[in-house]
């Protein structure tokens, strides 16, 4: 009695075309279920926030317990922090990438450096915050300041900059170096005049992607440089600063009866800030790829 049933089931289970169809459908559904929430979230954010953003919102000080006015100090603060991060992380990151691709031998020390880089990229952002508090704020006595926050963010950004720059430098063909050195150039001259210029678009892409992450992070600046509210802009690198991510955190969790428009507007400005960096990086990368002759 049961025989036909199980037989039919077995026949179905060995019907490879059917299995493939079911499998493909399942995977397509998975992809759709990833696609829809992302589009919904972004669309909703733009829909709710775009009406709020105008020139005044971007350039006015907040007032009335931040429930009114604009977000200018947070925008300026995030700009300061991003520039500060770049000042420290870009030279060290690029130099480190040059070392790994041009100088490092394939030995245990180099492997250790690579493991260290992988680990730096995996350390939770809040642990960077603790480290920044311990080293920069307290031990070196920089206080809760733009300087401490920038230094903390720049260490967090290093692994991104190092690995993307190294990839870009390695992509420059070996023959370029050989020719340059056979013409009498020293190793450094070859790097400076031949390798780095060729790798520049890739390096810039990496730098922007790293800074993009720094601009959007909240946890590392919580105890190293972010201020809840400041009546004026920071005057020096030893002052704390407001910043967009922390400001969004504050107005969406700490302030009762906060108007939704300002929250959505702030979130959208932060997303614009970060995604426009992303867009610039993508454009530089694809242009360089299109132009490349080798």
């Amino acid at each position: 009695m049961n025989q036909p049933w199980t037989r039919r089931l077995r026949a179905l289970a060995s019907d490879q075309d059917l299995i493939q169809k079911v499998g493909y459908t399942a995977l397509t559904l998975v992809a759709v279920s990833v696609f829809i929430p992302i589009v919904l979230v972004l669309g909703y954010l733009v829909f709710k926030g775009v009406g709020v953003i105008d020139w005044e919102f971007l350039t006015a000080m907040p007032y009335d317990g931040m429930r009114k006015g604009g977000i200018m100090p947070a925008v300026v603060g995030t700009f300061y922090l991003t520039v500060g991060t770049a000042i420290f992380s870009v030279p060290i990151g690029i130099a480190s990438a040059v070392y790994l691709s041009e100088y490092a031998k394939d030995n245990a020390l180099t492997r250790l450096i690579r493991i260290a880089i992988i680990n730096l990229s995996g350390i939770p952002s809040v642990v960077y915050g603790l480290f920044g508090l311990g080293l920069f704020v307290l031990f070196l006595n920089f206080g809760t300041s733009i300087l401490s926050a920038s230094l903390t963010l720049s260490i967090m950004t290093l692994p991104v900059i190092i690995s993307t720059s190294e990839e870009a430098i390695r992509a420059v063909p070996q023959s370029f170096r050989t020719v340059s050195q056979s013409l009498g150039a020293t190793k450094w001259q070859t790097i400076r005049r031949i390798v780095l210029p060729e790798a520049t678009p890739g390096i810039i892409t990496g730098v922007i992607l790293g800074l993009e992450r720094a601009a959007g992070e909240t946890a590392p600046i919580l105890f190293t440089g972010a201020a809840f509210f400041l009546p004026q802009l920071p005057g020096s690198v030893f002052d704390a600063t407001m910043a967009l991510p922390y400001h969004l955190f504050v107005i969406s969790t700490q302030i009762p009866e906060m108007p939704f428009q300002i929250q959505y507007g702030t979130a959208l400005v932060l997303v614009f800030f970060v995604l426009s960096m992303n867009l610039v990086a993508t454009i530089i990368r694809s242009r360089a790829r299109a132009k490349r002759q080798w």
């Binding site: 490879q16 075309d17 299995i19 493939q20 499998g23 493909y24 995977l27 397509t28 998975v30 992809a31 990833v34 696609f35 992302i38 972004l42 909703y44 130099a95 480190s96 040059v98 070392y99 100088y103 490092a104 492997r111 450096i113 260290a116 880089i117 992988i118 680990n119 730096l120 995996g122 350390i123 939770p124 809040v126 642990v127 603790l130 480290f131 311990g134 307290l138 260490i155 290093l158 692994p159 020293t186 190793k187 450094w188 992450r213 959007g216 992070e217 946890a219 919580l222 105890f223 991510p245 969004l248 969406s252 939704f260 929250q263 979130a267 932060l270 997303v271 970060v274 995604l275 992303n278």
Partner: protein, 298 residues
């Protein structure tokens, strides 16, 4: 060439070499400062207090087990979401998708990876958790489940991109061999391509787990932050507090060098060690794989 150039070159080479070692120096410094500020806890708080199930620092209860269990619950939940969705999407993108779908999905997932976590947390508070509360008829939407789902999507871009890279490096000849033997596309994916890419896929999973366990701002915003020991499956539907959220929420209010301060650093130290283990294991898998493929080539 004059000696001026030699001198300059010598100096620059040294700067480059020192920068090259910087990653090691920074990992060392981070660990040193976590130890320096975190280890005093062991002399100030008794072990039975530290490893108890009560976290209530105002009354000097420093039990970190509820925080560890909170992190664990949310990480497991996030992994349960990110791994099937992430690997499924990676397989879809690299093996099945028509070109146009790939061109839309890939940048979109990269975009998700680039969104600041505070923005996701903000939308979580305002839209996601209220709806979750109504949908599941809970007293509050700020639960471990909310955190798990959101972190699943945070870990997703990492899982997708690493797993997709792994699938891409599987040589085309493997697939052609399978087809020639009469396997369907689906059998090829399932029995040949995925197994060949398994170490890369495993790395993807581990990096995704690392991403989820370290996330701070989102869990702080959407999980309710109640330091309750998670003992059963029902913990998913109640508020929890993770290690990361405790540090972020409490560090701003503690006095420097107090017991509470040292304990928060101690928690940071545990987090550091956990992610260290995850990342070293993940990179060991990658290195071994590289060696094997080099051998196969030579």
């Amino acid at each position: 060439m004059d000696s001026n150039v030699d001198w300059k070159e010598f100096l620059l080479t040294w700067i480059i070499k020192i920068s090259g070692y910087s990653a090691i120096v920074f990992v060392g410094l981070i660990f040193f400062f976590l130890l320096k500020e975190g280890l005093p806890t062991l002399t100030e708080v008794s072990l039975s207090n530290l490893f108890s199930d009560r976290w209530y620092p105002i009354e000097e209860y420093y039990g970190i087990l509820p925080l560890i269990s909170g992190s664990l619950v949310i990480t497991i939940g996030a992994t349960a979401i990110a791994v099937p969705l992430g690997i499924g999407t990676a397989v879809y993108i690299s093996e099945i998708a028509p070109k146009w779908a790939r061109e839309i999905l890939k940048p979109l997932i990269e975009l998700l990876g680039g969104l600041p976590s505070v923005v996701l947390g903000f939308l979580g508070i305002l839209i996601f958790t209220p709806n979750l509360r109504v949908l599941l008829d809970l007293p509050t939407g700020l639960t471990a489940l909310a955190g798990s789902i959101m972190l699943g999507f945070v870990a997703l871009p990492t899982v997708v991109s690493v797993a997709e890279d792994a699938l891409d490096t599987v040589p085309r000849s493997y697939r052609e061999g399978a087809w020639a033997l009469g396997a369907t596309n689906w059998q090829t994916i399932w029995k040949v391509t995925l197994p060949a890419a398994r170490s890369g896929v495993l790395t993807a999973v581990m990096l995704g787990v690392g991403r989820a366990i370290g996330e701070t701002i989102i869990v702080m915003m959407v999980t309710g932050n109640a330091p309750v020991m998670a003992t059963s499956i029902s913990a998913l539907f109640s508020p929890v507090r993770t290690m990361t959220a405790s540090i972020a929420a409490e560090m701003g209010e503690v006095a420097n060098d107090s017991v509470h301060y040292h304990t928060l650093f101690f928690i940071g130290m545990i987090l550091f060690i956990i992610t260290l283990i995850i990342n070293i294991t993940a990179s060991a898998v990658v290195f071994r794989q590289q060696k094997r493929s080099e051998k196969a080539l030579s």
